[in-house]
């Protein structure tokens, strides 16, 4: 029983922080800046967790994640401006469009392994970015898309910063919960088996190609959702926000946080968004300091701030005995 409580305690505390403590603090000090930073952390946490599923759990090095984030942002923004379809349409459409595109590009790529897969996703990311930049007739090219209509839910405009924060936090929490259930289940174990030895998994009857296509598509869906949230909270999207740099930033988040660890992805996102903001006072050297922190954390904590093994045992406790508690903490995960 105490195991159960301990396991439930962490997620409860996180929810308490996200839905009570942070908004209370934000409302009390009432500063738009902190709202903005909090929203960015949430959006990037979703991006990092969605990448965690592909790269962390399934072990496929994905270098084009930002492109699907961009597709989501553009779909939401263009539906909002050109078709006058609001947030309620734009949000699922963004996710579905990103997922549909991911599905199409996944069909030929998912037979590739290791470095070849990484290069293929790099190319996909660059192609999508180039299309966003150069397909002027549809995406407005480098001019970007301005989204004037704010968020409206069932006819009620959501305008105050705190309401927008709750909306973003709620959607991100829901998405992360779905990704958590996918990642920490027999499905997630199948993904990990792909990562550890895909030929062995294949021999054991796991349909590896299908699994890869599924996980790639699901991950892109949530990247698209993150994109829609970015488009609606910022009001302006341009291709520059969805380039290779952003893909690498998200990748760095999950590596620093701990490859294969879902809580690690969230911690990594929070760290890499908050750190540059905290260091603003340092001036031009802040990027160097962020680099040093990343370097040091990789050097001393190669498994990340919250590595996969500790993350998994944390989650196992949450599930009680329902989900294969290991007899001992056997060494699995990224080494």
């Amino acid at each position: 029983m105490s195991e159960f409580v301990r396991g439930r305690l962490v997620p409860l505390l996180v929810l308490l922080v996200v839905f009570a403590l942070v908004p209370y603090g934000l409302a009390k000090f009432g500063k738009g800046y902190f709202f903005q930073v909090a929203q960015l952390v949430l959006i990037y946490a979703l991006l990092a967790v969605s990448l965690h599923l592909v790269t962390g759990a399934a072990g496929l090095l994905h270098l084009g994640h930002a492109a699907f984030y961009g597709v989501g942002a553009y779909v939401a923004a263009l539906l909002g401006t050109e078709m006058k379809l609001g947030f309620l349409w734009g949000l699922p459409a963004a996710g579905l469009a990103a997922a549909a595109l991911a599905f199409v590009v996944a069909l030929p790529t998912m037979r590739l392994v290791s470095i070849y897969f990484a290069v293929a996703t790099l190319a996909i990311g660059q192609m999508i970015h180039t299309v966003l930049l150069n397909w002027v007739a549809v995406t407005k090219g480098p001019n970007g898309v301005m989204l004037f209509s704010g968020i409206t839910l069932f006819g009620t405009p959501v305008k105050s910063p705190i309401a927008i924060y709750f909306l973003v936090a709620g959607l991100v929490a829901l998405s992360i919960w779905v990704l958590h259930r996918l990642s920490h289940s027999y499905y997630g174990n199948a993904l990990r088996s792909l990562r550890e030895d895909d030929q062995c998994a294949d021999a054991m009857g796991v349909d590896t190609v299908r699994l890869k296509i599924e996980v790639f598509t699901v991950s892109a869906f949530f990247a698209g959702i993150a994109g829609a949230l970015w488009a609606y909270t910022t009001g302006y999207v341009s291709p520059g926000d969805f380039g290779f740099n952003t893909s690498i930033l998200v990748l760095a988040m999950i590596v620093v946080g701990g490859l294969g660890s879902l809580p690690g992805a969230i911690i990594g996102a929070a760290l890499l968004i908050l750190l540059p903001e905290v260091l603003r006072g340092v001036g031009d050297l802040r990027n160097v300091m962020v680099g040093i922190v990343m370097f040091v954390s990789i050097l001393f904590l190669p498994r990340g701030l919250l590595g996969e093994v500790s993350a998994l045992s944390l989650v196992r406790r949450g599930f009680g005995l329902k989900w294969g508690a290991a007899p001992s903490d056997r060494e699995v995960g990224w080494r």
């Binding site: 738009g32 709202f35 341009s238 905290v278 040093i292």
Partner: protein, 372 residues
């Protein structure tokens, strides 16, 4: 628990930053300046910072108002998410009454959504996107858009008898406006654009583009690029032995073109509103100060930034001691015949600057004013 030690490492690394935050000075008028001080476009941001520091030092020494003005510089890295965050930060600081920047249109426009909502005057020295000033009554800019420069260049080229023109521009919102306004005017004057091509900024090899241009046999080439691309383009053009006159915009008006391309830059014609060798006293003073800090003559963009800061400071003077955000906005909108280093500036009702353009050509390694 393993978490503790890990957190301690992160905290220990983050702690010195907390103490480095600058303390706010009392009794000062504060302005914000968001610009890329690091990242891919840092060279421009660093130029703006120098220009702003020169303008600010001169202003604070003049004693025109009994208080000091302070500019808070924030690094946006030309990244929209940083730009928006900075915008929120500036808006939160009640002492900040006006904002300068950002550098690129993309970041300026993302930040503009925040300024529009909060009611903060924003004056960008370089945002040239056609829709930037249309965002709200709070957006101003101190750069002539291609709506003015394109037709001016087209008329110039038609007057020289160049009717068949190839147009190339970088693939940015600005590049798009370069080709559009130029093409409209040259068609109206009986000329013809025989080729329009876009390239990505920082393209190392222009040879295939140059071959394409050569095939069309144009009378002249009109270009929308910045100094790095300008230098590369001109060098490779000479290497291929192509001798077609090249025209460009004020964006290429930078001493670095001559430094990087050397003799190959000879003959490049462009429009500008800043002449570093002008005899006007305000220009002489700015150029002398700039040379003292940087050791070389300033180009077009630092001059625009210098004027933008001065226009903002002028608005502070006009409204002091009641310099609120709304008052500064109204004062900016009322700017008329401001004598800057980029010529006299008036803001139209659309918050666009109206400026006089001049013709310049590189002759003997110097930007030389020319009549035709």
């Amino acid at each position: 628990m393993t978490l503790t030690r890990r957190h301690l490492v992160a905290l220990a690394l983050a702690a010195p930053a907390a103490f480095a935050l600058p303390a706010a000075a009392a009794e000062t008028v504060k302005l914000g300046y968001q610009l890329p001080l690091t990242g891919n476009t840092a060279q421009y941001g660093q130029d703006f910072k120098t220009a702003a520091e020169i303008a600010l030092a001169r202003f604070n020494a003049s004693g025109r108002i009994p208080a000091k003005v302070e500019i808070v510089f924030e690094d946006s890295r030309s990244d929209a998410k940083e730009g928006v965050t900075i915008a929120r930060k500036f808006v939160d600081d009640e002492k900040i009454v006006g904002v300068l920047g950002d550098f690129t249109s993309g970041v300026s426009m993302a930040a503009a959504q925040v300024y529009k909502e909060a009611g903060m005057p924003q004056l960008s020295q370089t945002a040239s996107h056609p829709d930037y000033t249309k965002i709200s009554e709070w957006q101003f800019r101190n750069i002539t858009t291609q709506a003015g420069e394109g037709p001016y260049n087209a008329d110039w080229m038609v007057a020289k008898g160049y009717k068949k023109v190839a147009v190339i521009a970088e693939q940015t919102d600005w590049g798009q406006s370069v080709t559009k306004y130029f093409a409209d005017e040259i068609a109206a004057k009986g000329g013809k654009v025989v080729l329009t091509e876009y390239f990505n900024r920082g393209l190392p090899d222009f040879r295939s583009l140059l071959t394409k241009i050569q095939r069309e046999k144009p009378d002249a080439i009109y270009t929308g690029f910045f100094y790095e691309d300008a230098a590369n383009f001109l060098k490779q053009m000479k290497q291929l032995g192509i001798a077609i006159p090249v025209y460009s915009t004020s964006a290429a008006h930078n001493q670095k073109v001559i430094e990087l391309a050397g003799a190959d830059a000879e003959g490049l014609s462009l429009t500008t509103n800043f002449l570093p060798n002008s005899p006007k006293p305000e220009v002489k003073e700015f150029v002398a100060e700039w040379v003292k800090v940087r050791g070389a003559e300033p180009g077009q963009f630092p001059a625009q930034a210098f004027d933008a800061v001065n226009i903002m400071l002028e608005a502070v003077v006009k409204t002091y001691p009641k310099s609120t955000r709304a008052a500064i906005r109204d004062a900016l909108a009322a700017t008329k015949d401001f004598p800057g280093v980029t010529g006299s500036t008036t803001f139209g009702a659309d918050r666009e600057p109206v400026k006089q353009l001049s013709k310049v050509r590189i002759v003997g390694g110097v930007f030389t004013p020319v009549a035709d």
